[in-house]
């Protein structure tokens, strides 16, 4: 019994040390990105390339997910709405979910899957092939050349991607509402703009998107830079990075939801 609890305690301690280590690494990544940007060392070329590669490249995934997220919101609310005959509330219900909760979270998860893991894979490859050390040997600061451009590109991609996905999801919800529940798009629009939803709801979603962007950027960069052990190590880093980003996204979601003042 004593031995068992000692082992348990050791495991708990290891998990705690790992957690503190992960938080510290991510804070270091963000600090490196911020200080490189403040010193004016954020490489513009790299930022543009990262935005094109990560941002434009993930638009198909974001848009296709958003259409189905919109549809999902309608399908989910369909039984409740038909039960109470409250079709005029469809726009409000779908808009509420898309703007405040499900839209930002699902977009964040998809961007984490697409952009975050891509970033981890690239940085991990650079790390295990010792190209990061090569940069240092050439007196190029990895913080300004690798970290800062990627962090900014991911934050921008997440915020802009969430705006795009909110708009697409609303259109998708209106379309599915029309075909599945025969709710006229105008009814949908009226429900959306009836005054129960305000710009604060959209802002709430955007605040979440920003928080998710920061978390995706820091966590995917940190896991990429600490990859070790050849190509398999890169794969492990990507897997671990995606999982911990998902946990962080939900933690941030709870944090933003609970700290935002109830209107």
């Amino acid at each position: 019994m004593v031995r068992f609890s000692a082992a348990l305690l050791a495991q708990l301690g290891q998990a705690l040390v790992a957690l503190v280590g992960a938080v510290g690494t991510q804070a270091m990544v963000l600090a490196a990105a911020a200080s490189a940007t403040l010193r004016g060392q954020c490489d513009g070329e790299e930022l543009r390339a990262a935005l094109l590669r990560l941002g434009l490249g993930s638009i198909p995934v974001i848009v296709s997910t958003a259409v189905f997220v919109g549809g999902l919101m309608v399908v989910q609310s369909a039984p409740l709405l038909t039960r109470f005959g409250a079709e005029s509330y469809l726009g409000w219900g779908a808009g509420f979910g898309i703007l405040r909760e499900v839209g930002p979270v699902l977009t964040g998860l998809m961007i984490s899957g697409r952009v975050g893991s891509n970033n981890t894979a690239e940085l991990g490859t650079l790390t295990v092939t010792e190209q990061v050390d090569g940069l240092r040997a050439l007196a190029i600061d990895p913080a300004g050349y690798l970290i800062a451009p990627r962090v900014w590109a991911i934050i921008l991609t997440t915020v802009i991607g969430t705006v795009v996905s909110m708009l697409v999801a609303l259109v998708g919800a209106a379309a599915v509402g029309l075909f599945l529940l025969h709710v006229h798009p105008l009814t949908f629009y009226n429900g959306l703009t009836s005054g129960m939803l305000t710009w604060r709801d959209a802002l709430h979603g955007l605040a979440k998107a920003f928080a998710f962007g920061v978390v995706i950027a820091s966590s995917s960069t940190a896991f990429g830079l600490s990859a070790s052990g050849g190509p398999p190590g890169v794969g492990r880093a990507v897997g671990a990075g995606v999982v911990s980003t998902a946990v962080l996204i939900f933690a941030m979601d709870a944090l933003v939801s609970l700290t935002a003042r109830a209107p």
């Binding site: 998860l109 894979a121 690239e122 990507v238 995606v242 946990v247 709870a254």
Partner: protein
């Protein structure tokens, strides 16, 4: 003939008898094009393939359908002990992560729903039953699916991809073991078996945290909150069907990404990315279609 039947790709070639075993031929006999030839000969019906040895090494023929067919025909050759090991790996080791996420989401949703309900009518009696209905019909299955797509999809693709780039899959083929039967099929079976169970456990976590948030933030008594009056048979069927569909889709999409990892230092990372994205999209799309089809089939009830 029966002696040659179990040789690697060489069986059908020597049966053509026109080509002698040259050095070049011996080297080539281990390559994918010959395997494809073996497959085509098999389809002609005169030579049997090695048991479960069904996935073409020929990368140009790669498609999800080929992987699905290979996995389906390898199921009979699966070792039960491997399935149990994978069920532990996929099921038990994902459980803390799943429970944490679902508990977070459950709490947030009840909190948001409570705020909205207060905005319109200050009546919190509908929150609990509505939340339970949503949880049973959609939320538990969808969120568990998404999280498994992330956790299990990434790990399957990373494992198989690492084996692919370090030539371990080819080594298995050389040892006359089928990578699909030994690696993919156990993961597939384990995921199919474990996903509905995980959905129920994770859903229970979401229910507990939702009840707690309702009690703390809106002073809803748990006995009023835990009221399953909106849960219909249709909702139960929908939730169950979704979890089974996700359990089928996630391992297949991820294993496909892992099996066809490109060789190179970025290959495994790319395979993991496409496994996570592919299986997440599969979960969202399948969730939408199952929900829509059931809505139409049950006549809007």
């Amino acid at each position: 003939m029966s002696g040659e039947r179990h040789s690697l790709g060489g069986g059908p070639r020597t049966s053509k008898a026109s080509r002698g075993p040259s050095a070049e031929g011996d080297r080539r006999s281990l390559r994918g094009s010959d395997y494809a030839l073996a497959l085509s000969t098999v389809q002609d019906g005169d030579v049997q393939p090695m048991p479960g040895f069904v996935l073409p090494h020929d990368e140009s023929r790669a498609s999800l359908l080929v992987t699905v067919r290979a996995t389906a025909s390898a199921l009979a050759h699966t070792e039960p002990s491997a399935v149990v090991a994978q069920a532990y790996e996929i099921g038990v080791r994902s459980l803390p992560f799943l429970c944490l996420v679902l508990a977070f989401v459950g709490g947030i949703i009840v909190y948001q729903a409570g705020i909205q309900a207060m905005r319109i009518v200050p009546d919190t009696s509908g929150i609990g039953p509505g939340y339970i209905e949503l949880l049973v019909r959609d939320l538990a299955a969808n969120l568990t699916g998404l999280m498994l797509a992330t956790r299990v999809g990434a790990s399957i693709a990373a494992e198989l991809g690492s084996m692919k780039v370090t030539d371990q899959l080819d080594a298995m083929r050389l040892c006359q073991t089928d990578p699909v039967a030994h690696l993919v099929a156990p993961r597939f079976l384990a995921c199919v078996l474990v996903t509905p169970i995980l959905t129920i456990i994770a859903g229970a976590c979401a229910l507990a945290s939702g009840t707690a948030v309702g009690a703390i933030a809106f002073e809803i008594r748990p006995q009023n909150f835990l009221d399953p009056r909106f849960v219909t048979i249709g909702a139960l069927v929908s939730g169950f069907l979704k979890s089974v569909a996700f359990g089928l889709a996630i391992p297949l999409v991820s294993a496909h990404a892992g099996l066809y990892t490109r060789v190179g230092s970025q290959g495994v990372g790319d395979a993991t990315t496409s496994a996570v994205v592919g299986s997440s999209v599969a979960v969202i799309v399948l969730g939408f279609f199952i929900g829509a089809i059931l809505h139409i089939a049950l006549g809007g009830a």
